[in-house]
């Protein structure tokens, strides 16, 4: 450790720094680190690494599901009467101007459909229960 380019005084400080018992790593550290290295070599990933992957996958799935839902056109079996839906959509648009015209129309159709639904008890008569809207078969 003696360096000729250091003055005797600095060399003495250097030797004093290097003197004395040295901190050795605890024996458990070897087992811990070698175990970790072994796990990495086997390709095992810790839970800390799995969690972000799972979260990212869930986000991608959610995003795709929402996109697919928004992009899917779901026509009604029963055409909604324009005479009812259009004024209703206009009213909704006036009440909620931030809604697009399409969204307002969609809400109007939903309101129209909801207003015509009649609760139909499931009577055990041996045949499938009717689904009727004020007498009109749907």
């Amino acid at each position: 450790m003696t360096d000729p380019w250091l003055s005797p005084e600095l060399d003495e400080i250097q030797r004093a720094l290097a003197a004395g018992p040295r901190d050795d790593p605890p024996s458990r550290l070897r087992a811990r680190i070698i175990g970790r290295v072994q796990a990495e070599l086997r390709g095992k990933k810790s839970a800390l690494h799995r969690y972000p992957l799972a979260a990212a996958a869930a986000l991608v799935w959610l995003n795709l599901a929402l996109s697919a839902t928004n992009a899917t056109w779901q026509p009604l079996d029963v055409p909604a009467p324009r005479a009812v839906v259009e004024p209703l959509a206009r009213q909704i648009g006036e009440l909620l101007p931030e809604l697009s015209r399409g969204d307002a129309r969609r809400l109007a159709v939903l309101y129209w459909a909801g207003s015509r639904v009649v609760p139909c008890p499931d009577v055990p008569s041996g045949r499938a229960p009717d689904r009727r809207v004020w007498g009109e078969e749907i």
Binding site: I13, L17, G20, R22, D23, P25, R30, R36, V37, L41
Partner: protein, 185 residues
Amino acid sequence: MDHPANDPLAPGLAAGDLRTWEALYDRLAGRLYRAAVRLLNCREDAEDAVQEVFTTVVRSRQRLAEVDDLDAYLFAALRHAAARLAGRNARLPAASEAAVRKAVARPEGPREGGRSPELSRALGRLPAAQREVIALKIDGELTFAQIGLVMGTSANTAASRYRYALEKLREAMRLEECPRSPCDD
């Protein structure tokens, strides 16, 4: 202490041979740990830093074949790990004068068996960059060329920093011996 370019362990490490990794641990863990204790002033943090070094290096083991100096490479990884841990714990030795003083007073610092208390206190008051070069030279047992690689400087700059750190230590110890009147007179 010196290991030639293209370390003999490098091929085994890159190939993922566990026994070679154990050999690397046996060769470097003590020096890495002692340097980490010096940098972080905490043995538990030092253990975490050494583990982080091995975990980081084993994940990027394919690059080891291109590494010229394996020891310097691992100490560079230790330097980054120590900085991350110090930042995480808001316990960066150079963060503030108060932090340095607190670190000096901490019972968890390196064991100073053969060192005088004045030297230990003076060492604790050094700025982080100078303490880092002391840690790499004394505890890490690196050459100045390796310290230069770790710190991103030339070997001459590393040697100058080290000598400057020793001079600061000498000054601090002189001041501690004669705090009120100059001894040189």
